[in-house]
Amino acid sequence: MIEAAGLTKVYGDTRAVDGLTFAVRPGIVTGFLGPNGAGKSTTMRLVLGLDAPSAGDVTVNGKHYREHRSPMHEVGALLEARSVHTGRSAYYHLLALAETHGISKSRVNDLIDLVGLHQVARKRAGSFSLGMGQRLGIATALLGDPATLLLDEPANGLDPEGILWMRNLLKSLAAEGRTVFVSSHLMSEMALTADHLIVIGRGHLIADTSVNDLVQRASKKLVHVRSPQAARLRELVAADGVVVSSIEPGFLEIGGLTAEEIGETAARNGIVIHELTPQQASLEEAFMQMTSDEVEFKAATHPSSDAKEAA
């Protein structure tokens, strides 16, 4: 359980995190989403007490992280920035951290096996690829058998097999009743992994909702229709609140009616339908829409953003 209340971090003139209030519950995977520079990594550093908040407060399992007597048993963390001495082997890196909590060598070896690093465990961590570094980070996070996991962009640098493995790992950890808080800037990945989402942009909370709700909210409720009698169908469905557009003959994009309503109208009038497809906005689109005002590093030529700034 992670609870943040009015959490704020100011660096000079930048409000990296601005009044965030949220709770991350155990037993589910909670995705922490936001564009680059939204304040995800800063929030995670604040949770771990690496940075002190300028205002507000954040606790883990009821206490400030610093006050726990056995911190690695409470929280396992994978930070986005590398946190490994490049000159030390993976084995000794894990052993040194394990020893602070009296964790045994056999536990260290178990985790090296779990993340699949046994062949390179004695090699300098500086020689690791990004994916191997992420696996070492996961092993570090799991060392203390933590009740809460805090993972910053864990899929970074992983190959497709690694991403699948990570997804399953996160779900298993949540199924065991742990609190799993995972940041990402990829909505598509979170849609597959997370049950709940906390979305931020420029340090502000944008959404705190379940994945299903977000999909519902983002749906544009459009229906694609293909028919040789498209022009006739267009006249039949025309009504207040119904928007019909057509980009090619025989094709209609209808908003404001469900697929069922369109299909029944067509049937009553003996119109032949070749395709009738309800469109769901992708989560990616929903995410872009939600965060478009909050993106810190925006491409200057983006037409919609230009229009917004001009308005």
Binding site: S83, G87, A96, E99, T100, L164, N168, S172
Partner: protein
């Protein structure tokens, strides 16, 4: 790894203990000996301490016959025995700085401070482990440097110096104490500056740049200030004799401990207060 299977079994572990100072010390010992740079620095310090003393002993011994009387008077066997310390101190200082700045430059510090979020136990453990390891290694080294150099030069009667002679044992052992203390002082500078080059530069500035600057001051000022500047105070620890314008070994030790404690105190305050 069978990635296709859904279940990823994370083995549970019931034996996670609390963070204690002793456990953090054990962790810092693992960190220290598992780095090649550490092992090399210590190896180089040992080799230089003994090697340079032996080298100077051999040069002095072979030129002894051709030296003029006043030149011979300038040669003191304790200086020959301690010649290596002047060289090896750099390896110890660099190691002291690196032990802490190596964590900042690589990002390891974030892992260390996440494991030990109270932070100070890490600083105490680093200082303690470094002090013990350096002393345990450098004590036999300075003794070896003394006996090796004596084995080479003692055939010339004026260069013969008994270990049992008054103050000799104290001066020789003082060499190891000196190396431990400047290393700890350097580590504190590293913790304050958090950058390897910056930490070493700060040490070099304080110890090797300040002394010649004092030469432009009036002599009375020099005599009053010079014994207390870091370089002089620390070096007093391993001097066999001292004049009226330098501190006694005990006085030097006291002032050096003061400097070291002051630097460590600043490092500790900053470590707790600053963002990592």
């Amino acid at each position: 790894m069978t990635s296709a299977s859904f279940e990823v079994e994370v083995p549970r572990y019931a034996h996670v203990g609390n963070v204690t100072q002793l456990r953090v010390a054990l962790s810092e010992w693992t960190k220290l000996h598992s780095l090649r740079s550490t092992r090399w620095s210590l190896f180089v310090a040992v080799v230089l301490t003994i090697g340079f003393s032996a080298l100077f002993a051999a040069i002095t011994s072979s030129h002894w016959g051709s030296m003029r009387p006043h030149e011979r008077l300038d040669r003191h066997p304790i200086d020959i025995a301690q010649a290596g310390i002047n060289v090896s101190q750099l390896a110890i200082v660099v190691l002291g700085v690196l032990v802490i700045t190596g964590e900042y430059t690589t990002g390891m510090i974030r892992a260390s401070m996440t494991a030990v979020p109270k932070r100070l136990p890490v600083l105490w453990a680093k200082l303690g482990v470094f002090a013990v390891v350096t002393f345990v290694l450098m004590l036999p080294t300075v003794l070896a440097a003394f006996f090796v150099s004596q084995a080479i030069v003692s055939k010339h009667a004026p260069l013969k110096l008994a270990f049992s002679h008054a103050g000799v044992a104290r001066a020789v052992i003082g060499g190891a104490v000196y190396l431990v203390l400047i290393g700890m002082f350097a580590m504190a500078l590293g913790a304050i500056i958090r950058n390897t080059a910056g930490g070493i530069a700060a040490f070099v500035g304080l110890f090797f740049v300040v002394p010649p600057l004092l030469n432009v001051l009036p002599t009375s000022w020099q005599n009053a200030i010079n014994p207390y500047i870091p370089n002089s105070a620390f070096r007093s620890i391993f001097q066999l004799t001292h004049g009226s314008h330098s501190l006694s070994p005990a006085g030097g030790l006291a002032v050096s401990l003061g400097y070291t404690a002051f630097a460590i105190a600043i490092a500790a305050i900053l470590l707790v207060r600053r963002d990592t």
